[in-house]
Structures are given as structure tokens and as C-alpha cells.
Amino acid sequence: MDKFRSEFTTRTIVLIPIAIAINVGVNWIVQQLALPLYLDSIGTVLVGVMVGPWSAGLTGVLSVIVISLFFWPPAVAWAGVAAIIGFMAALFANAGWMKSWWRAALAGIITGVVAAFLSAPIAAYVFGGVTGQAGTDALVASFRAAGLDALGANMGQGIVSDPIDKLITFLIVWAIMLGLPERLKTRA
């Protein structure tokens, strides 16, 4: 509990809304560039690296709540996955994995695989095996056509999309940590 409290300094409270805005804003840029990615967890991973697991988990959950309140209500179903992404980012940072680009990339791939496995049952059992987004659903359809069931097809879609997405996310965060002034890097 003390560890939990010590993370939530005023500075962390200030950082979290910015991190949520980064999640939403970068996702918006990705859509402008018409890239087949989400990049909706850069802020969450950043809080994980800059502060710690609890605040990163909270950033993930709040971010998903904000997206469902203002953009797309179904997003809330994936709140738990967003929290785990933040938590994992903090654990990788604690282990020193965010200091070199290739370890950061590996951390991103591992996080992506975990995210894919956790997201698939939600799509399969809550949303009938679809995500309501044309790109990912086309991928799901091709896995179903290849003979997989709903869970398998969503798992396949996740394994294709998530590790690459999280790899780029973690590399961007690594690049930001390089450019960040020392005074902002001190961890709580």
C-alpha cells in the first residue's frame, strides 16, 4: 500500500492526463497517416517507465474509460488489458530493459503477445468474435475462412497486430526517454 501511495505524487497526477492525451492523440495521428496500427498506449507505457506499475495501470484504465466516454463506448471492455500493458511496461523498466533499444523492442514484442492473448477472449465472447473495426475484422474473417473458430481467429488477428504495434510503441517510448531532460526522468 505504501508503494502504491508513494507513486501518486502531485507530479504523477499531473502526468497522467497528459499521458492519456498522448494515447488518444497519437492514435489520432496514426489514423491521419492511415497506418495499420493502434499506437494507443504510448502514454501508458511512458508512465510505466517514468513512474511505476500502479500509476501506469491506472493510466491504462482511465485512458480506456476516456475513450469509451468520448469516442467509442465498446473500448471499456478492454480496460483490464490496458492496465496490464502499463504494469508490464513498468516491470520491464524496473528490470532495466528500457535502456537499450533492442531490449525495449523485445519488451514490446512480449507485451504485445500477452495483450493479444488477453484481448482475444474479450472479442470472442463479448463481441461475437469481431471488433467492429474494418481492418482487424477483415483479418479475423480471413482466419475464420482458414478454418479457425472465433477464439482462434481473434487470437490469430491479435498475434499479427499486437506485437508489431507494441514493438513500435516501446521504441517510441525508448526514443522519448533519450530526449527527455534529466530532471524529468527521476522516478518516484
Binding site: 505524487t9 497526477i13 497517416l33 465498446p74 461475437g128 474494418a134 517510441i172 522519448i176 530526449g179 530532471r183
Partner: protein
């Protein structure tokens, strides 16, 4: 200041309910969406309960438009994917090696109406509740006051951030950064856009924190508020009933 919000101002009885009561209505709507064993009952609940509440809130038309906009992609994906790949004996029509089955359509229908009812329950809440009022009501019930800052600030920062993103996009294009073309070209444009934008938004966190601290942000003890959120005993009882109904529905289906 530009604020992100889907809240539709109004003075209907629905708007005047305590935000927590509306949260309980949402819980009941979600319970109905996933709890009724038969999808036709979900349709009935949607028509009789959810739409009546929207009409009571004086927002039936925008409510229906929003529902349609959100459910359409799910509707399309479900009826295509489940229709062709769920399998079943009753073939409606074949297409190449695949066949569109009645069983698949039934499954797609079930999921579509459940998702629709869930989205509708959330939209009911989002359209009729100011987020800061929700946070105030939660604060009265022991939520930390920092949560209020988180939500309200996020609503203000996101539009600012989008403006900044647009400015950086245009500035980098003016310098000759290619943002159109094939996938590799667009992917290369990502880093020079995203990294400066994020760095720029992180620079002033210390100033923001100091500004809050100089206004006694982390001082413990009760805070006074300009806005009073009305509540009543009736609403308290109603809230428990709604949440219990939602839970019972889910338990019913699970059994």
C-alpha cells in the same frame, strides 16, 4: 476553453437525477444486455426501457442516431463473419466454397442486439451526465479528489493536444516530410511527428505540479465545492434496486 464532451445539456428529469443514479441505470442496462437468455427479450428491454428513458431525457433522436452510428460496424462484421463461418445445416445461399447459414445469422443477431443494448445504456449515461458532476458525486462517496482533476484535465488536454498534433503535421509537411504514399513512407513519417509532440507536452509537468501545489492540491481534509449535486433517499433506494436487477439478470444467464 474547448472541452471534449458528448454531454447534451438539458433540463429534463433524467438530467436532474444524481449522476450515481444514472450510473446505476447504466449498470442495469448492461445487465440486461448480457443477462437475458433470449436476445428477443433484449430487444424488448431496449424498446420499452432504454428508449423510454432516452425519450424522457428529451434526446430520443440524437440518441438513436448515435446508437446507429456505433452499432453499424458491429452489425456488418457480425452478419458477414458469423453468417459465413459459424456453420450450421440451414444454408441460405452459397458463395464460392462458403455458405451463409441461418444458424450464423441467429448468432450474429444475438450478439448485435446485446452490443446495441450495452452501447445504448452507456450512451444514455454519457449524453445526460456532465463528467465533472459525476466526479463530484463520487467524491462525496469517498473518491479521492485527485480523480476529479484527472478526468476534468484530460477533457481539456485532449482537444489542445489534437490541435498541437495538427500543427506539427502541417509544419513537418511544409519542411518536406512525406505523409502520403506507400506504407513505408508513412511509417517513416511517424517518428518525426510523434516524438517532438510528446516531448513538448512533457516539458511543463513540473510547472503544472507547482501551480497545483501552490493552491493546496495535496492538503488533506474536506474541500468545498461551488456546485451541489442533489440526491434523495428515493434515489438511493432506486440505485440499489437497479444494480441488484442488473446483477440478478447476469446471474440468471450464468445459471
Amino acid at each position: 476553453m474547448a472541452q471534449l464532451s458528448l454531454y447534451r445539456p438539458g433540463s429534463s428529469p433524467l438530467h436532474k437525477l444524481n449522476p450515481l443514479t444514472k450510473l446505476a441505470v447504466m449498470a442495469c442496462c448492461l445487465g440486461a444486455a448480457f443477462g437475458f437468455p433470449n436476445p428477443y427479450w433484449v430487444v424488448g428491454f431496449y424498446l420499452l426501457f432504454t428508449l423510454s428513458l432516452a425519450a424522457w431525457g428529451g434526446m430520443l433522436k440524437p440518441f438513436l442516431v448515435q446508437n446507429a452510428k456505433l452499432i453499424l460496424p458491429f452489425f456488418l462484421s457480425l452478419f458477414i463473419i458469423q453468417g459465413f463461418f459459424y456453420g450450421g445445416a440451414t444454408v441460405l445461399f452459397p458463395l464460392g466454397p462458403f455458405s451463409y447459414t441461418l444458424e450464423g445469422v441467429e448468432v450474429a443477431f444475438g450478439f448485435t442486439v446485446r452490443i446495441l443494448q450495452a452501447i445504448a445504456g452507456m450512451t444514455l449515461f454519457i449524453f445526460s451526465t456532465r463528467p465533472d458532476h459525476l466526479m463530484l458525486a463520487l467524491q462525496k462517496h469517498g473518491f479521492p479528489h485527485q480523480a476529479m482533476y484527472l478526468v476534468v484535465t484530460t477533457m481539456q488536454i485532449i482537444p489542445q493536444f489534437q490541435n498541437k498534433a495538427l500543427a506539427i503535421l502541417e509544419a513537418q509537411q511544409a519542411r518536406g516530410l512525406e505523409t502520403q504514399g506507400n506504407l513505408i513512407v508513412r511509417l517513416k513519417a511517424l517518428f518525426p511527428m510523434v516524438v517532438p509532440m510528446i516531448l513538448g507536452s512533457l516539458i511543463d509537468i513540473d510547472e503544472r505540479a507547482i501551480a497545483l501545489e501552490s493552491r493546496a492540491f495535496s492538503k488533506p481534509g474536506p474541500k468545498t465545492s461551488l456546485i451541489e449535486i442533489p440526491d434523495s433517499e428515493t434515489q438511493k433506494i432506486l440505485r440499489w434496486c437497479l444494480v441488484a436487477a442488473g446483477l440478478l439478470l447476469v446471474v440468471w444467464r450464468a445459471l
